[in-house]
Subunit: 142 residues, 2 copies
Amino acid sequence: MTPPFKADPAFDPGSVVVCDWALCQVRLQDDARFPWLILIPRRAGLHEIEDLGAAGRALLMDEVVRAGEVVRMLGEAALRPVQKLNVAALGNVTAQLHVHVVGRRHDDELWPDPVWGRGPPVPYGAQALQEAASRIRVHQAG
Amino acid sequence: MTPPFKADPAFDPGSVVVCDWALCQVRLQDDARFPWLILIPRRAGLHEIEDLGAAGRALLMDEVVRAGEVVRMLGEAALRPVQKLNVAALGNVTAQLHVHVVGRRHDDELWPDPVWGRGPPVPYGAQALQEAASRIRVHQAG
């Protein structure tokens, strides 16, 4: 029997679940400095991209591209259009396979450095966070 | 007419070309702290993963997994087996689409932080660099 998928609780303090796509749980990182999604493939026991079969990897690639569109949409909505996408599967802190898709701008506070492990996040605030999550759900249904 | 592929000269000071795969130029990062490949899709004008068509994205995914195997092999050869792969398409410094595949260990000097923009590289030295490149060519031919 396949064990059920469960996102590592370590994702909870920093991000909220927005929706499920075919492969991944989609989370919005609660950091208003950057439009930032986290994709977690909804299968138990994954640590590396290689742990996914070929079909899963193809889905992951599709969803990474789709997450890039969402991140660009969030940047537009914030009147800060994304100038570069940063896509990364790291997992040094939380080993469960997940992919970050982050929208960057030349004037963001960490440019050109990566965003991970750098500086305290700037929370959206409860209402703005829910609005951003809703915007994603509407966008991805469209 | 399609313009020819050319790797951005900015890659030259820090890495060496090892070989070409179906999609990507494969480079070894000249930093003995980490087994680290850079994959550059050999098509002109790419900046984001989304700039590749579906077939190119599938090849990229295949080559990322293959690069992970190579990085693991390099870690074994150095008697420092890889414990976590870090895979990232950033491009904040050099915009041409490229993917880093880096082997990490819990005892490496930057763990658990990302490797980009952190600390001076530790060059292999000319002979060790060529040996590592040869090892990759032999491995990937096998």
